[in-house]
Subunit: 311 residues, 4 copies
């Protein structure tokens, strides 16, 4: 269906439901797609960090993307993560995603290896040219230390390489400077700035961001759509109140901490436990080697859902 | 004059004007105090990062604090930075600041050495008990890697050790979670959350922060006061527009990059060059071993001031 | 041919020669194999960091491994890097490497995502079980922040999951503590500690390390074999002198710094320029998006080779 | 007594014994001086990280330095740490140390604030000029992120600003490159390279380092002197065996980990518990806010001492 220019609104980075044996549960993924589209999501992002992309082999990545494209069936754009270490590997994923019907790609700077701004720009240009789909840069310093600052992004916004940025840096000041610079150059109508900071969405929208890619939007997409609509209508106090409610709900990502799990297992396990408790997905398993949430943590997730009015 | 509970509003972290030979220029510091108070600042913060506290020996620190207390003359509260490696050293600064008339202290977690949350809490409790002044914790991960998260802060808010937080982490999501947790415990009326993220003030205030400690507020305190007043009155679009203007002005901190200077020399040199061009201070020198801004950078600062309507 | 227990000696992490169009140059890779085997290398490591594994798509990775296995033809063991983000992805590479005739695998801890020691141990156990080949853990904090310390490694040495460690951490003190702990448990005859610190090989061997995986060993494998033989024979002064010569030669990795390249492009470009100047490989190209070394840098590489007596 | 050129040998970074109430225990410090001098230490370093310099206010720092100078009484050189955030503050300590009779100073690059190589060099030049004592640079990236690489150090070695380096980076490869570069310039007879990597001393000496500053040398100075003498005499196998014994003893720094202490409290607490058990100091207390080692940890320290033949 193509990508709106600029892309805007709520774009949940979909979890990838798994079966108990670790296969992609395409039925549950379809159910999750309905869950977020029924809430009014404006697009979906498959194979991001919330989608456990780091844990999925190529076959599972492709199964997940195919299932999401099928389930969405053209109702909203499908963004596909093409996360890999550097250009040639990303291009393999990009071509596969294009063949499977993705509407746009989301790629990080090179990682695992050292890189340089000149190389980073070249990397994005090669991906854009090689795959023929709109490309969104993904700034996620917790995974990829190389930051995508205005010095890297503006030339790529100007020459059309990039259609936008998913900013998971948490650095709202940097996002502000980028937005001011884009407006000055008349690029804010063609380059979308999407925040991944799910607890600062009201502030990011107030600063002019076009949309949000909230992991927690798997669990409560309607909350994020309300927040977005409040912001669009200038109802900032209501937007902030909705964000406060979602910030409290976010506690469901931290229930596994005491058990000595990774942050990933705790947070993604929390999302999936919530989706399981809500009846959206069949099995709350996360991919190996992440361990499952212990029962007490699942109880805490249930408590947070109830407190947020979702159960 | 004591500290309002909770402290709120615009609290510029004052630059420390120096003479060409590197002494504290108390006349210019007095002039800077008038500059920010005339604009409506609600308090001042002496000996923070913008005040080059890392560069000032004990004698200069005390000269600067005394001059600021004298110039303020009880019109607003004076917060004093007591930045040092660990407890005993901080306590020396704290007692000196109390004797010089500071109304509150601002201290970081221990640095240079490894520490642990149990020790960090003990550190703040000892400082609070030893100095007898309200204490604000200073989270500045660019200088002090140990983060002050809700797990460290909430017990100290509850037992009255801390009167607030200056959050220079840039992490607006974490600030949101802290604010939600404080409100839940009924602590938001006694514990002040002040953001040091000078380009995300509108978002921080929308999230419920009590105030802002903006380095750029040395240069344009009136802008920050307008931004704060817009936010207090619920004029969020106007607040965001003012923040946009200030974000553009912030470019004056980056003029020295090309010359191979440290970020500190460039940013603090930019603030001081601006204050010198505005006629507030007599000499734009920063403390050794920082090098002065080159002439072309000063020209760029002048350009940014003009563009922001300040010259 | 199987892996000696414990693996020991000089194991060059082979560069992956490329054609001007970026394909794997299998002829040059064969020539590089002869270059290092003629010098007395005890094994080869394909698809490590020096092999630009981060830059090679799956097809190129497999081409390179197949070519190396063919060229080595059973004369020494072939270790294959199976570098990817987490378990399922690594397992895909591991099965491919087994099918292509690798004698052992080299894998890192999970990266891109957060992880936990319990997960890291589970990760290695799954790879060991799934691929049926001896497994060597790869500690390379510049690429994978999760450190592989004794607490993670010792249980995996004890239960036979791991056949050894490639330690590219540069932390010789940690290596010493690991070696002491292995000897105490009687594991030093079954678990091989190989240092990747190519400028501290004499010290690592003196501490009891079993061997070395030196990137610079692509260029001067004979130097590393001499160093190893001196150490084995207790000729420590001669070993140190050889290491000093190699440390001077290592300057060929830094010739690109001035041109604003990444460390990777400069270092790997330096290795490849040297191999090209020595007549070992046909083309000095590194993989995109790395840029080629400029001419002046190639001249500097030539100078360093001459100074080291290699040209 | 002046500083030998180049300084060489074993230079224990003395712990600062404290009384139960947190004052400097000058009697115990004198006893510690005798403990290390009786073992053959070639110099002592007061107010380093092992001396808890970050925890001592100015008065306690000066008390400790005075006591050490008095106890040493000219038998060996006394190096004084002058650790503070930047130049002016370091100069205050430097002048005090000179007045108290230190023979040389040890200073880090600026910390807490951002800095730049040009500023770092200027910083050391100002300290050298201002204090009139030989100056040793202190590279300790765990405390001061700015690395002191060859690009910073060589000009300062050449112009006589620096008399040496204390390298606590753990990066033996970098130390090797520096030593090779110093020899090439004929500077290795005037610039001393001292390793702080107490578990890789044999390797550092084999690489040509002049000496060692081992925290563990408080506990077992005789072991380090034996190690050094073996190395000087070319008895490398004996040096390595001694280093192995000391690496096992180093486990006494990690006994507090389980109790949730900081690394600092555990390691320095371990040194002090050992010195107390050995009868060298009267009280094992570390400075606040560090917590004391629990009893089980002290038992573990006793066990490690016994195993190393020291009890």
């Amino acid at each position: 269906m193509g990508l709106p220019v600029p892309l805007s609104g709520v774009v949940p980075p979909l979890c990838t439901p798994l079966t108990p044996s670790g296969e992609v549960d395409t039925r549950s993924l379809g159910s999750l797609v309905e869950h977020v589209l029924a809430a009014g999501a404006h697009a979906v992002f498959v194979l991001g960090s919330s989608g456990e992309t780091a844990y999925l082999d190529d076959a599972r990545r492709r199964t997940a993307l195919r299932a999401a494209v099928d389930a969405v069936a053209g109702r909203v754009p499908v963004l596909a993560g093409v996360v890999d270490m550097t250009t040639a590997r990303v291009l393999d994923h990009a071509r596969a995603a294009a063949a499977l019907g993705a509407d746009a790609l989301v790629a990080t700077a090179p990682f695992y290896t050292a890189t340089h701004p000149v190389e980073v720009r070249d990397h994005f240009r090669r991906i854009r040219a090689g795959a023929g789909l709109p490309l969104i840069a993904y700034d996620i310093p917790s995974s990829v230390p190389t930051r995508l600052d205005a010095g890297i992004l503006l030339p790529l916004a100007e020459d059309g390489t990039l259609a936008g940025l998913k900013d998971s840096s948490g650095d709202l000041g940097g996002l502000r400077r980028l937005l001011v610079a884009l407006r000055r150059r008349g690029l804010d109508a063609s380059f979308a700035v999407l925040t991944g900071s799910e607890l600062a969405v009201d502030g990011a929208l107030l600063a002019g961001a076009h949309g949000v890619v909230p992991g927690l939007g798997n669990v409560d997409p309607a909350g994020y759509v309300r927040l977005y609509e409040h912001a669009r209508a200038g109802r900032w106090a209501e937007a902030a109140a909705e964000q406060d409610r979602l910030a409290a709900l976010f506690a469901l990502t931290g229930t596994g901490d005491l058990a000595g799990m990774s942050w990933s297992a705790s947070a993604l396990g929390g999302f999936k436990a919530a989706l399981h408790l809500l009846g959206v997905i069949d099995c709350p398993a996360t991919a190996a080697p992440q361990h499952p949430l212990p029962g007490a943590a699942v109880d805490a997730v249930r408590h947070h859902l109830a407190e947020a009015g979702l159960l």
